[in-house]
Symmetry: C2
Subunit: 437 residues, 2 copies
């Protein structure tokens, strides 16, 4: 059985919806040659028109649910965003026996488990390549391209706004608040930047990547999330002096004690490719037991990069549908009955090297006291920078790079250091990841 | 219809064959959970045992054709290499109705067109992810992940041996021959290094990538191939002074005049990620009209990285076979009847900036004569380095970086420069690629 046309409905005609509509129209011939069937957008549901799209003779409904009710629609593309109306749209589409393609990371991260189960019951497929790292085909790489591997860990720059801010702080020595304001003016950051700069957006993406990597149900609430709002240009500069860059990473790692799931600012060696991913770009580094490290880089957001991923999902589905077949690749890469709940490692047990910055009195004995505190906790010092005091100052910045230490020990060491008379204020600390396997 | 086991035969148990056997054994449970079926190696054909493999109860035949005759085998994995026996194995396997997975770039690049046609006639599938860039899932990215895009161009470091040599020349200022000898001692380069250092291996891979990107039949004989044997440590150093690195790239580009297909040493800006891919690693940069630039990085060779790609292909097939389905993704990403022969642009028409190095007499008027020659050809100079003469020398190295110029004009300019009395010997020249879209 072979169909010449696969019919698509799009709900939401904003940035990504408009981009998807336009890419499908512009590259229609090439996409049809690849998919083995023409992909026709037969129905668009949008509360308002998108001036960038010439919808021409395509049926457009203001009631987005009319797209689901359209019996012609075989694949419903959800590009509304959020987890309220979008969730209802996806649920109703699945119930109506339609395949779903979405770019909605929050929806998948928070409600993916139930939506995937519903899709399986309904005998249809949900695809969400665009939900992580925009146009980079990282979902497909984990779900299919690396299917022979036991994934050891992955680490990604998966929020373009945060990476833009950190890149600017480094390149120009600017303050966080100052760059954030510029990012907002450029449209890279939302008026309320919380999702981006506090790491929630990255956590949404990380939990999806981790489930694909390790074969476990989505556990959004288990991700440790730390933002970049406290970073100073000084940290960026000192990291540089030590041969590191600071990136806001999402990290998922398989360890003896379970799976680590964490989003936080991280010092990484400047020679790593990931350290050289700048501006709004995204990249994900994946370590597999057979393949070793592989890296995937590209645009993590934007109308057409995201549309590229949406259309790839549509083509995947169309290749099967046009032959009357079902898509056989499980939603999370593992057969649903093989997904296993795994212990998430509490942050107090996570072991990494550390970067610490403190302000100390510039007098004899201070360094030796600090060294003793570390030694008492079994933490060894890898590098130390003591800056010369500024004119008329008797306090100096002191930067310490430690070897691997469990957070619990570091908590105690930091508490002891902060209790010293010779130390002013709090000790700033950032985790270090060598990213060397 | 659902099968619990998908049965695989492996022909060839050398480096990659052994790696594939071991990865399938070690990760059997995880692979089965992903594939929806156990992958069982039921028959191995190998002229000799591989001490790294415990074949245990697996049937092993010294006659590799016995694997094809084995009625149990559903997927035949060809890991013999070369284009003689391997070709016969693949042809016979296809004729016997078996699906084929191969890592053989020469076989696909030179005989892919006929093998894909035969597979289609026989209703079976050939997969070859491991043929390009080892464990990096670049075939899948082009064939599926970027299916919504018109690919504009791609540029790849797709020969690890060559990249190791260039990395060492740069890091340590060493001569080509010296590093090649070390690479041979380390097992990175063959006793006869021609395939690697003359770019033939890269050309095999490039032609495969280009066909996937642009939807055209494989045209191995059309690739322009230039090796790295003439590069000197001086070129590497001067490139560095100008802000560039020299990489041996395979480049495929869609232009108004057709498709460019070329492998040659290339100066690329040092800030590009591709410039920072060092040692035996591979990376491919792909520019799509919707997604923009994306990059894929990882191990381009080695037993288990290559096995990772072979197993991914097996899993793809197993996911379909276990449900009684056919694999619907065309061999070259485009439906075979949609592949179109495209004009390959002759090198004389290819336009790039150029790096030139010459030895000139250190006296007034030389520079102005050279500048006039370029100007007469309509070529503008972007940068120029004139070195101080060595003690007692009256000749100096002169390095010129030009703007974009067609090879035809550059040929004439170089001939005119070489004819000057003030220039000694030949002008060395290397193309430059800004890689900026």
């Amino acid at each position: 059985m072979s169909a010449q046309v696969v019919k698509v409905g799009i709900c939401g005609l904003g940035t990504v919806g408009g981009g998807t509509f336009n890419v499908l129209a512009r590259n229609a011939a090439e996409i049809a040659a690849r998919a083995g069937a023409a992909i026709e957008v037969v129905h668009v549901g949008a509360r308002r028109d998108n001036p960038a799209c010439d919808t021409g003779s395509t049926r457009v409904s203001r009631d987005i649910f009319a797209v689901i009710d359209d019996p012609e629609v075989q694949i419903l593309v959800e590009l509304i965003g959020g987890t309220t109306v979008a969730k209802e749209v996806v649920e109703k589409a699945l119930a109506a026996g339609k395949h779903v393609v979405t770019a909605n990371k929050a929806l998948i991260a928070e409600f993916g488990n139930e939506l995937f189960a519903q899709a399986e019951q309904c005998g249809v497929t949900i695809r969400y390549e665009a939900a992580v790292a925009g146009g980079i085909p990282i979902i497909k790489a984990l779900r299919e391209g690396l299917a022979g591997n036991r994934i050891e860990w992955l680490a990604g720059i998966i929020n373009g706004t945060g990476n833009f801010i950190l890149s600017e702080m480094r390149d120009k020595g600017r303050e966080f608040d100052d760059v954030l304001a510029e990012a907002q003016a450029l449209g890279y950051a939302e008026a309320d930047p919380t999702f981006d700069v506090e790491g929630i957006d990255a956590a949404h993406k990380l939990v999806i990547l981790a489930s694909l990597a390790f074969g476990m149900p989505l556990q959004f609430s288990a991700v440790y999330t730390e933002g970049i709002t406290e970073l100073t240009p000084q940290d960026v500069e000192y990291a540089e002096e030590l041969g590191y860059r600071i990136k806001h990473l999402g990290i998922a790692k398989q360890t003896g004690g379970g799976i680590e799931l964490r989003v936080h600012p991280t010092l990484i060696p400047e020679k790593r490719l990931l350290a050289n991913v700048n501006g709004v770009k995204n990249a994900v580094l994946v370590e597999g037991d057979a393949v070793g490290p592989t890296l995937y880089y590209g645009a993590g957001a934007g109308a057409e990069p995201t549309a590229s991923a949406v259309v790839a999902d549509i083509v995947d589905l169309a290749r099967e549908l046009s032959a009357g077949q079902q898509c056989r690749v499980p939603a999370l890469g593992f057969a649903s009955e093989k997904l296993r709940d795994v212990r998430i490692v509490p942050m107090t047990e996570v072991v990494t090297p550390w970067y610490l910055r403190m302000v100390a009195e510039d007098r004899p004995g201070v360094l030796s006291r600090i060294a003793t505190i570390f030694s008492d906790q079994g933490i060894s010092i890898e590098a130390l920078i003591q800056k010369a005091p500024a004119e008329g100052e008797d306090r100096v910045p002191l930067i310490v790079l430690t070897n691997r230490a469990v957070q619990g020990s570091m908590d105690q060491a930091v508490a002891a250091i902060e209790a010293l008379d010779s130390i002013s204020g709090e000790v700033a600390r950032i985790r270090v990841e060598p990213l060397d396997g």
